[in-house]
């Protein structure tokens, strides 16, 4: 593994891009925090204590307490679980769906015309609005938030996959494979797919970052995860009416969210540069 040229290429590029490494490290720390939340001095993130509401950050409440006396430190740490799992779930789901739809439409012309018109329509609805419309019609739950954001992200992934397929199918080795009588499923899996994986991986990181922001926006305006689930957006939503007296409700989750999204974006940029050195100089 260590000797393979692609792996070495990756390693060298990362050495030249310290920001990407920093992004990767921050992301790993956030994932560690999410996994280890119960052992990091937290209490039950949903335990209410009405007499201890809206306490400023202190010895007892490191990040303060919210309107129902819940410990914001614990909620922010457990919030990492919610926000990261929504981001990662949306990234995986929309990548797989976009890949499947893009592969099929890139090869079946009549289907392509129909599916792409639907995708054009979906892409004409600003993603946040599409998610809002869906959330207004369903009960608030994490699954529904993931489904709503995925639906808003799929068209972009589909377009990317389709454009890659349309370029790749003209490549001499694909034409040669067809001429040699290779069947379509085998061409897709052996010749097309391996060349799509890398750009798709880059796209997936951007989808993950954008999904985390969309989730926070949805929760912030009351159309996201149920209020009792401690997502970063939900913690900040309480600050809508309390901002002037409890700025810490915005500060701690806001810093965590921005830092995580920044880390994912830096990682994505690093991966993109490693895969396409020509583009790296421009972007």
């Amino acid at each position: 593994m260590a000797a393979s040229p692609t792996w070495r290429g990756f390693r060298d590029a990362f050495r030249r891009h310290p920001t990407a490494i920093a992004g990767g490290v921050i992301l790993l720390v956030m994932i560690a925090i999410a996994l280890l939340a119960p052992w990091l001095g937290t209490v039950d993130p949903q335990a209410v204590a009405p007499i201890k509401r809206l306490k400023q950050p202190s010895e007892e409440f490191w990040f303060g307490s919210d309107m129902m006396g819940r410990d914001v430190y614990s909620r922010v740490l457990y919030g990492a679980r919610v926000s990261l799992s929504i981001g990662i779930a949306v990234a995986i789901l929309s990548t797989l769906l976009g890949l499947a739809i893009g592969l099929v439409t890139g090869y079946i012309r009549w289907l392509d015309a129909i599916v792409m018109r639907v995708m054009d329509g979906l892409m004409s609805i600003p993603p946040v609005l599409l998610a809002i419309a869906l959330m207004a019609l369903t009960r608030a739950s994490m699954e529904n938030v993931i489904a709503a954001i995925t639906l808003a992200e799929v068209p972009r992934v589909t377009r990317l996959v389709r454009s890659l397929v349309l370029t790749l199918r003209e490549e001499p080795y694909v034409v040669a494979a067809i001429a040699a009588g290779t069947r379509l499923p085998r061409i897709l899996v052996r010749h097309i797919l391996p060349n799509i994986v890398a750009p798709l991986l880059v796209q997936a990181t951007y989808v993950c970052a954008s999904a985390m922001i969309t989730e926070a926006i949805l929760s912030f305006i009351g159309a996201g995860t149920p209020p009792n689930i401690p997502s970063w957006g939900n913690i900040m939503a309480e600050a809508r009416s309390l901002f002037q007296i409890a700025g810490y409700l915005i500060f701690f989750p806001g810093v965590c969210l921005s830092l995580t999204v920044l880390a994912i974006n830096l990682l994505g940029d690093g991966m993109r540069d490693a895969l396409d050195p020509r583009l790296a100089r421009r972007m």
Binding site: I125, V128, L129, M283
Partner: protein
């Protein structure tokens, strides 16, 4: 060229029809009974029946869809469940603040972002370039409402220069109107500026590497003449494209910005309607915003012909 314009117009109509279909289908495709969900937990079976009739869920799908499209063409967006007023009227009341916010943001963002991108490209590799790129990555990572609260904290609460919240209509005085828009437009515009500056820089770098730029330099034009007259002119198409596509960010962000700054626009109406589960209003807002978005991008497509005489259809 005429044929191209007609083709683009037809494509736009198709896209709008798909948008309408998607928005309408949501009512049917979401799991569970939408009438029961919209009615809320405390609803009686009468309430649910009333909402079902109002949304036409008691009629066959095609009948309902046909009737709805006919309504839309007449400019009727349906009636609100909560207030019983026409949705078009409710949205119409809220247009001015949203239009003020988004147009100001759009204008200021373009005026800031394009020069930023041009300078970054002209000084590629220097600290100016790195600064612009760092700002761009940060801009993508800060959620609009977090930035909004940071701005309020600094400029309204600490320095007391600008109002914390609220909106003043333009007819109550240009100064007050502008003062109330500075912070919301800054918060909303940051991600948009980040996006446009990044693309401007990239397409300027492409243009600057071309032969005609060297020719222009060789014949003795000043650096700024080369940058604006030759490079920027040729880099215009991707920049204008991303300005159009980025409007989606502005629309999504406006909903949040209006919530943070208590601006009584369409975004605020949307958020209130989510809380009241007033789906007809949400449906109307999605249609209006998507329609505006599609039309702007149609204008962007048509502008290519003016921007780049080489493009012939």
């Amino acid at each position: 060229m005429f044929a191209y314009v007609v083709r683009r117009l037809l494509a736009t109509i198709v896209v709008m029809a798909v948008v309408a279909l998607v928005v309408f289908l949501l009512l049917y495709l979401t799991p569970g009974d939408p009438a029961a969900i919209l009615a809320g937990d405390a609803a009686t079976s009468d309430d649910i029946r009333r909402i079902r009739e109002k949304l036409g869920l008691d009629q066959p799908f095609l009948v309902r869809f046909g009737g709805w499209i006919a309504q839309l063409i007449r400019g009727d967006l349906g009636t609100s469940i909560f207030t019983n007023l026409p949705v078009a009227h409710l949205i119409g009341q809220r247009v001015e603040p949203t239009l003020s916010l988004t147009l100001c943001t759009l204008l200021v963002s373009v005026l800031v972002a394009v020069p930023l991108g041009v300078v970054a490209a002209a000084r590629a590799g220097t600290w100016i370039d790195r600064g612009v790129m760092a700002f761009s990555v940060l801009g993508f990572s800060l959620p609009v409402f977090v930035l909004a609260y940071i701005l309020i904290l600094i400029f309204s609460i600490e320095l007391d220069w600008l109002p914390v919240q609220g909106y003043r209509p333009i007819r109550e005085g240009l100064w007050e109107w502008a003062r109330h828009l500075v912070l919301p437009a800054t918060a909303l515009g940051t991600v948009y500026i980040a996006l446009i500056a990044r693309i401007t820089r990239a397409s300027m770098l492409d243009a600057l590497a071309q032969d005609y730029v060297r020719t222009a330099q060789a014949k003795g034009l000043t650096p700024s003449e080369v940058l604006v007259g030759h490079a920027l002119k040729n880099a215009a198409v991707p920049i204008v494209t991303v300005i159009g596509i980025g409007i989606a960010l502005l629309i999504g962000g406006a909903i949040v910005t209006e919530t943070v700054f208590a601006i009584p626009g369409i975004g605020r109406l949307t958020v209130d309607s989510i809380l009241r589960r007033d789906y007809p209003i949400i449906q109307g807002v999605v249609l209006i915003f998507s329609g505006a978005y599609v039309l702007i991008n149609l204008a962007v497509d048509l502008s290519y012909m003016l921007l780049d005489p080489r493009i012939r259809y």
